[in-house]
Symmetry: C2
Subunit: 423 residues, 2 copies
């Protein structure tokens, strides 16, 4: 088994000021190549800590180390230097590389009219000082990457910004000696099942039952994970265990057919986008404040089916923009199944859409009552003059969680409505 | 200096299926206590890797290790066991703890009507098996936490869900022996400056100049970070270096007064929320598809000033919901400064608000042209019958980045408008 470690550098990541997006992304790439990830380590821009992390991974017998970050022009960018020392390589200025970086810097500089050239040039030379014998990966931004062979692991040095790291990883994966290492690892299969509306403990029980029924689950690496109100069952396996995976899927399907909504990795957003093709939809939302329309318009091409939306935060807006009758609000309250249904119908009518979504609820932290506690949300999805689903749910968590979870539940109601045959 | 390591366990985190929110959060808490974080490590649910990570941190002379995750009821939850072995402690069933966990499980179970009790009981006993002599931290969810003294570091074992980990950390911090360790560490000061509209390289130049002018920046731990289009300068320092920090702030203020928008840690969202107090606002947005209204309504109490919004995705919606004259769209195009201004005015008028926001642009990846490329966004913020700011910007990045960055630029325009004295 080929094993890897990821080394994410940077005070700003370690301190939590920015979230690490490279570790998770690289992790997925490695899995695709059949490489087992042993550790992801986040270290500050302190040479001793970075060196200690490299030596730990070497001692653990790791074959491949990927570093991210610390390739910038400033004094706290130390990765190339520390990796060079770790691999026992002298550091040398690559004059041709220096010229190529300078050309990029001067081109970029055009965007900032009023600032000095001094700062841009200062770091240029530093970025071109690389360990002897390293394979250079050409800059995507301004920082070059490196592939450095040590006596222990092969070290691939990549820049921190995800927009630079991702294309450079693709280049590195096709470049010796990394390409050879990856080819020897052999690919693993990755699959994803998604369920909605079932507790995680029940999935654990199903997995035990499936194993008792004779499926060799030990040949599958199964991770179940509760995410945004959905259960994800991620499975990694060697091609030879394909039959075991099929048996797992059959077992989950048999036990949770009504809750299993995706077997091919498609997200609920993918499914709803596909089901909306050739239709039109509009939204009238209160407590989600625009997030429902924001989620529907998240993907390219959504303008073909999203006509628009109304954030009907005030009662006047509910009446003025979505034709909710004031008597309805007076009688049942702004948060009520009746008003949610009226919002859905109002959205449909006012935008001239075929489908409408209505959302009203108590996102909190204030505004709750005994009858209508924080987390109570009334939802309605309706087809113009046709089928509809009205649902009142009680969602856990803080304001942000309630708002986000509301959009997830709505996506599932919408999927169900769209799968209902039209008369 | 007291040094800490964070150990995040779980296949689902290492694999990238879910993002680690505990490392960053704990990192911030540690900094507040004056503890230097050396490493955050993410390891899979493999006992050998978890053990290796603990031993690495012990070898590095780390004083405090905080683990997150691996305390659940299923077979892959191994943290208590591995930490017990690492600390040389026998594992024992705590019968009283077992009963307390069972009571929680049965109470929670009420929520899931139709599922079996078997799965819920199965893991109960396992969760009550703890290292001898460990301090028990009572469950917030169902998993108890632990404080375990080893021959090397003190190990604090916390559950993975952030909603459980956070309150349990607060409990742990007040419990011996952790409370004693934190008290000895002594607090550090943390400050944040925020700037908008200046390149990061220029900040590096300013820091060098401030140092040349005689400020001892080596007594400050400064991290600059580009986040969502803003520059953050985070600084950590011992109380004795307060004067140096004040000199740093004065230096940044002298050089970037017009770009420095926050000296007290307040975000642009905080500032806009405060400036909107006592006013009313409405939004008419196209390419952001609801995200602008979603951002404004993100915080509790926003219903006091956000009247609502319109997601005017189609031209018909721009006309029908925000009174944009069709001739304007025909003459200048849907993405134009003229239409943005009309959207802002339409939002103000239609919602009866004092302030309006209009947004129209090309979020991409399709829909761009030579005149109006992907990333071009026209923004308008306007006071009813008063001052206004109209701005057309060219934003970099993919669809998601353009949409998010648009909301940030708009927040800054709104701040500037709100700071403009009313006649």
């Amino acid at each position: 088994m080929t094993r890897a470690g990821i080394l994410v550098t940077g005070n700003e990541v370690l301190s939590g000021a920015i979230a690490d997006r490279n570790g998770p992304w690289l992790s997925e790439r490695l899995r695709g190549h059949g490489v087992e990830l042993a550790h992801t380590m986040v270290v500050a821009d302190r040479p001793a800590d970075l060196r200690a992390a490299l030596e730990f991974l070497a001692r653990e017998g790791i074959d491949l180390v990927i570093t991210s970050g610390g390739l910038g022009p400033t004094a706290d960018d130390l990765t190339a230097e520390v990796v060079g020392q770790f691999a026992g390589r002298e550091l040398r200025l690559d004059a041709a590389l220096e010229q190529r970086i300078l050309a990029i810097l001067l081109r970029n500089r055009a965007g900032w009219r009023s600032y000095s050239e001094e700062a841009l040039r200062a770091g240029n030379r530093k970025q071109a000082i690389v360990p002897a014998g390293a394979t250079i990966l050409e800059p995507v931004g301004t920082a070059p990457g490196l592939i450095v062979q040590s006596e222990g692991p092969l070290v691939v040095v990549l820049p921190g910004p995800p927009s630079e790291l991702r294309p450079m990883w693709a280049t590195a994966a096709g470049t010796e000696p990394l390409s050879g290492l990856l080819a020897r690892a052999g690919a693993l299969e990755q699959r994803m099942l998604r369920l909605f509306g079932v507790p995680e403990s029940e999935i654990a029980l199903s997995l035990e039952a499936i194993e008792r029924d004779g499926t060799a689950l030990d040949r599958l690496e199964i991770t179940t994970c509760l995410r945004r109100g959905e259960i994800e069952i991620a499975t990694v396996f060697a091609p030879a265990a394909r039959g075991d995976y099929d048996a797992l899927v059959a077992g989950i399907r048999a036990r949770h057919d009504d809750r299993l909504f995706s077997e091919d990795g498609a997200s609920i957003d993918d499914q709803v986008a596909e089901l909306l093709t050739g239709r039109t939809i509009a939204v009238a939302e209160s407590c989600t404040g625009g997030l429902m329309a924001g989620r529907l318009t998240d993907r390219a091409g959504s303008s073909a089916y999203v006509l628009g939306g109304v954030v009907a935060y005030s009662n006047a807006a509910k009446t003025g923009f979505a034709d909710v009758r004031p008597e309805l609000i007076e009688r049942y309250g702004a948060v009520s199944a009746e008003v949610a249904a009226a919002l859905a119908d109002g959205a449909t009518a006012r935008f001239g859409a075929q489908l409408g979504i209505g959302i009203t609820g108590v996102a909190g932290p204030g505004g709750g009552s005994v009858d209508k506690p924080v987390g109570m949300v009334c939802l309605s999805v309706a087809r113009l003059g046709g089928a509809r689903i009205d649902r009142t749910v009680q969602l856990p968590g803080d304001r942000g969680t309630v708002r986000e979870r509301t959009t997830t539940v709505t996506m599932h109601l919408l999927r169900r409505l769209l799968l209902t045959p039209e008369p």
